[in-house]
Structures are given as structure tokens and as C-alpha cells.
Amino acid sequence: MQVFLTQVLNGLQLSMLVYLLAAGLTLIFGLMNILNLAHGAFFTLGAYCGVVVGSSTGSFWLALLVGPLLPLLLGIALQSMVLQPLAERGRSTHLDLALLTFGLLFATAGAVEWLFGSAFLSIPTPMALSGHLDLLGISYPAYRLFIIGIGLAVAAALTFVFDRTLLGATLRAGVDNRAMVTALGVNINALFAIVFGLGAALAGLAGVIAAPLTSVYSQMGITIVVETFVVVVVGGLGNLRGSFYASLIVGMTNAMSQAYLPEVEMFAIYALLIGVMIVRPQGLFRSVERVA
């Protein structure tokens, strides 16, 4: 029972980490119909920034604060200076933009390799969170609980903003009818740029958070990004709530198979993806009917 509970918490922790990435990716897609295949690059950049800040200041908390800043700025720049103009020019379809971000994935993977080499780096766990907490009869690492906490907080904040604020309503309206919203005087381009930046920042945050747990290396974005893709497709592309539930499913699947069926651990997620694609290709949580 104790082992099971530990696995549940492990699954939750994995879920929240993936959720931070999936939320950004699905947000960007849902609002702008852009599939950012380079999303993993923001994750990697956040981690590396965190390493730089953490090793020069010795403070994890500073790294946590500063780490997501570069992804945030890069995200805003990418959207407003590259993707937006191309989309407006009309020559580039959404698929073209997705391919463009694929090229960006190559470029950033190469750039990170060039700048930081292939050494494995790390951020040390902060003193305050390096102990264990006694919870429900088990002793669980505090840092992992911290990750769970952050994930849930972000989920709550995003839901609040999108469902209950004017900003959220404006963004949802902008997706529905961009021209109308612009005509109403809203600078939708600025909003989209900010949202893109926010999505990138979330990925960067995930990178900093993940650093004490795993190593920081140039390819780290690739593995987690594939899991992110699975979450986003299972949850339904563009469906924020769906990606939360899908993150839970994927995280739990990962943890449980790691613990109980280690041989098939790698295939478990893909089996999940295949299963969902066969049964409901539009994602488990989408509720829109496709009409002629």
C-alpha cells in the first residue's frame, strides 16, 4: 500500500511537470493554431538559464525566478517578429508554421550543444526543500511535493484567468473571431505575443524545476517533448482542461509502468496514444462535433 501511494505521488509529480509544458503548447495552439514543435527548446533554455543563475548566485529561488525569463522574451520575440508576420502575409499555412518551428528545434538543439557542450549539468535542490515529509504514512521527498504544488497552482491560475477574467474572455474571443476583436479596439497581436511568451515561460519554469531532479543536457527537451505531444493529443489539441486530465493520465501511466512493468515502461505511453487514436482521434476530452 505504501509503495502504491509512493507511486501515485510519483505519477502526480510527473504529471505536473508535463502539464507545465502541455499547458503552454496547447494554449499556443488553441489560441493561435500554431503548433510549436520547438517547445522543448524553451524547456531546455529555462533549465540552462537556471543552471547559470544558480551556479553564479548559489540561490535556487533566484534561478527559479530568472530561469523562465529568457524563454519568455524569446517566445514574445518569436511570435511577434517571425510567426505573426508570416501568418499575416498569408503565404504560410499553419502547417508551414509548424514546420518552421521544427526547423527552430534543430537550430536550438544545435545552438545549445554549441554553447554548453554535451556535459551534464545540474542545479542543487534548495535547502528548504531537500528533506522528506511524512505524508499519509509514507516519507516522501519534499521537493517532489513542491513540484506537485506548483503544477496545481499554475493549473488553478490558468483556469481562473481563462474562465473568469476579461483577459481570458478577450483571448477566447480573439480565437473565435480575430478580425472582430481587433475592430473592437483590442490589440490582439500584442495579446497573442504575450500568451506565446507565457507558454514559453511555463516551459522554461518546468525546465528549472526539473533540473534538480534530472540532469541538464542539450537533448533534455526531446524526451519530455514527445511525452508532451502525447498529452496534448490525448487531451485534445487546444483544450486546456483536457491537457490537465491527460497529463494526469500520462504521468500515472508512466509512474505505474515504471514501478510494476519496467520492461514495457517505454511503450506504455505509446500504447495509450494508439489506444486513444483508435477510439477517439480528436482527443479524449474534446466535445466539438465535426460537421460538413
Binding site: 502547417l95 514546420l99 521544427f102 526547423g103 527552430l104 544545435g110 505509446y270 487514436m277 483508435i278 482521434p281
Partner: protein, 334 residues
């Protein structure tokens, strides 16, 4: 809009369109014949370095042609075709070095297994479209990549070596000789290109084109769109696997890098550079890509970063590829 621009945009009359098409056809035939003659004579005209580059271009061309059946032919952008190239190479690798089967058995068996796998994978993937399709093909590709690294059967990340080239002793030739291997690859390439051309101009191919233009219309016409997509997926997989077989024979070796997302991306780039609307496009794109990669690797070791930038520029600026740009140049001269 200025008047000159309006005049320039007047749609062509039927007669002009037919005349242009005929002219393009003639030019294409002449060019194709020239390329073929050049290809046949290449080993005698130049150093062995050119021959090895040409082999890489042809293998890349077959790979890109497979990708283009989906991309330009059906409108499906797959970022996972590397998995079939890898499966082709690993297929004969396992067949020859593990199972001890002769090549003339391993190759068809590999292609058959790939076709069956592709039918299954295709059945799942084609339930989606657009960016979701892109993601799922990428995910499947990563799955096979992971399997190749982890499985003992495939010798993990060390890869499999000792993959044999075809035994041509019955015609008195040794395929370890680069020139002989070159002609072997050339013959396979000619066959593959001819087959691709025939498939695209067949009724089946015309339905793929219809699906690309308007999937709903194709369904309304009465076509079982899903089945056609799976068919295209299978044929594309076979082409990519054939490229994988050649690749493995070329280097006597296969490793998981042949199944990576980078490789899938390189293939897509070849198609985009050359243009997705013609049969020649992927081949031209493969040529430009291989030559550019060679040139780039002489200049710098950071190939990946510049490759990424190059990729982005091509997608942003030359969406229709080089072949279309050439055609447009032809038209503006007439």
C-alpha cells in the same frame, strides 16, 4: 492594387495553359534525359568523391520521394518517415546478421514486414489530419527510435554492422566496388522514380490528389478516403524502407540515428527545397541538401544549428520549392 499588378495577375486562357504545359513537358523530358545520361557517365567523368555524393543523393532522393507521396501527393505531412528508413536498414540487418538469411530473401521480407507495420500504423495515424497527424507520426517515430536503442536484438545504440551488399558475382561484378555499387543504386533509383511516377499518374494517385485538394469533396464523390490514405502511407513506407536498405548496404551499418527525428526532418526539408508538386522535386531537393550539407560540414562543425536556420529560411521564403521557381521563370520568359 496597382494596374500593372492586376494585369499581371490575369488568369491564363485555356490555350495558354495547354501551351505552357506542353512546353514544361518538353523541357522536363530534355532535362531528365540529360540528367540520366550524366548519371550513367558519372563514374568515368569524375573522381570517386562525386560518385559517393551521387549515391547519397540517390538514396536521399528515394527517401524524399516516399515522403512526398504523402506530402505533395496526399497533403499529409509526416515527420516520422525516418522510422521506415530505419526499419528498412534494421530489417536487413536482422535478416542477414542475426537470422543468417540471404539478401534476396531478407530484402523482400523486410519490405513486406514494413508494409504490414505501415498498414497498422497508418490506420491509426490517418485518423487525424494536419498538425495532429504530424505529432502522431513523430511520436511513433520516437517510439521506434527508443526501441532501437533499448532492444538487444538491434544491438542498442552501437547499431548493427556487417550488413552485406548484394552478391553480384553471378554477373562477374563485386558490389563492394564503389562504382559497381553506384550503378546498383542508380538502377534501383530509376526503378523507384518510375514506379512513383506511375503511381502518381494512376487512378489511385489521382484520388490522393483529390484528397489533398479537398478531403470532403473526395468523400462526397464516393471515395473511401481513409483507405486511400492508408494505401499512400504503406507505399510511402515501402519507398522509405527501400532507401533504408540501400543506406545500410552503402555503409554496411545501421544504428538508431537512422531513425531519429533529425533524419525525418532532413527528408521533409529535401521535399520542401525541391518542391512538393513534381516527381523531380524530391530528387532535386535531395541533391541540393546533400551538397549543402557537404559544403557546410567543411566550414563548420555546428552543422545542426545552421541546418535548422536553413530549414526555417526555406520554409519561410521558398514555400513552393526550387522546381516551381524554375517553372515560374520559364513562364515569365514565354
Amino acid at each position: 492594387m496597382s494596374e500593372e499588378a492586376t494585369i499581371a495577375r490575369t488568369p491564363p486562357t485555356a490555350r495558354e495553359t495547354v501551351a505552357l504545359a506542353a512546353q514544361v513537358q518538353r523541357t522536363t523530358c530534355v532535362l531528365a534525359a540529360a540528367v540520366l545520361l550524366g548519371a550513367l557517365a558519372l563514374p568515368w567523368l569524375s573522381a570517386s568523391y562525386a560518385t559517393t555524393l551521387a549515391i547519397e543523393i540517390m538514396i536521399g532522393g528515394i527517401f524524399a520521394s516516399g515522403i512526398n507521396l504523402l506530402l505533395g501527393g496526399t497533403g499529409l505531412v509526416s515527420l516520422g518517415q525516418g522510422m521506415f528508413l530505419g526499419l528498412g536498414g534494421y530489417g536487413i540487418g536482422i535478416g542477414t546478421t542475426v537470422l543468417g538469411l540471404p539478401l534476396w530473401l531478407s530484402v523482400p521480407a523486410t519490405l513486406l514486414v514494413v508494409a504490414i507495420l505501415a498498414a497498422g500504423i497508418g490506420a491509426v495515424c490517418t485518423r487525424t489530419r494536419g498538425v495532429e497527424f504530424l505529432l502522431i507520426t513523430l511520436a511513433f517515430s520516437q517510439m521506434f527510435f527508443g526501441a532501437a536503442i533499448k532492444l538487444r536484438l538491434t544491438n542498442g545504440s552501437d547499431g548493427m554492422s556487417g550488413i552485406p551488399r548484394p552478391d553480384l558475382t553471378f554477373v562477374g561484378l563485386n558490389s563492394d566496388n564503389p562504382v559497381v555499387f553506384y550503378y546498383y543504386v542508380l538502377i534501383v533509383t530509376i526503378f523507384a522514380v518510375a514506379a512513383m511516377r506511375r503511381i502518381i499518374s494512376s487512378p489511385f494517385g489521382s484520388v490522393l490528389a483529390a484528397i489533398r485538394e479537398s478531403e470532403r469533396r473526395a468523400a462526397a464523390m464516393g471515395y473511401a478516403v481513409g483507405r486511400y490514405k492508408i494505401g499512400a502511407f504503406v507505399i510511402a513506407a515501402i519507398a522509405c524502407a527501400a532507401a533504408g536498405v540501400l543506406q545500410a548496404q552503402y555503409t554496411y551499418f545501421i544504428n538508431p540515428d537512422s531513425m531519429s527525428w533529425q533524419l525525418s526532418g532532413e527528408g521533409v526539408l529535401m521535399v520542401i527545397i525541391g518542391g512538393a508538386t513534381t516527381v523531380a522535386g524530391p530528387l532535386v531537393g535531395a541533391a541540393v541538401f546533400v551538397l549543402a550539407k557537404q559544403g557546410l560540414s567543411i566550414v563548420t562543425t555546428e552543422y545542426m544549428m545552421f541546418f535548422g536556420i536553413f530549414f526555417m529560411l526555406v520554409v519561410a521564403l521558398f514555400r513552393n520549392g526550387l522546381v516551381e521557381a524554375l517553372k515560374a521563370a520559364l513562364w515569365s520568359k514565354s
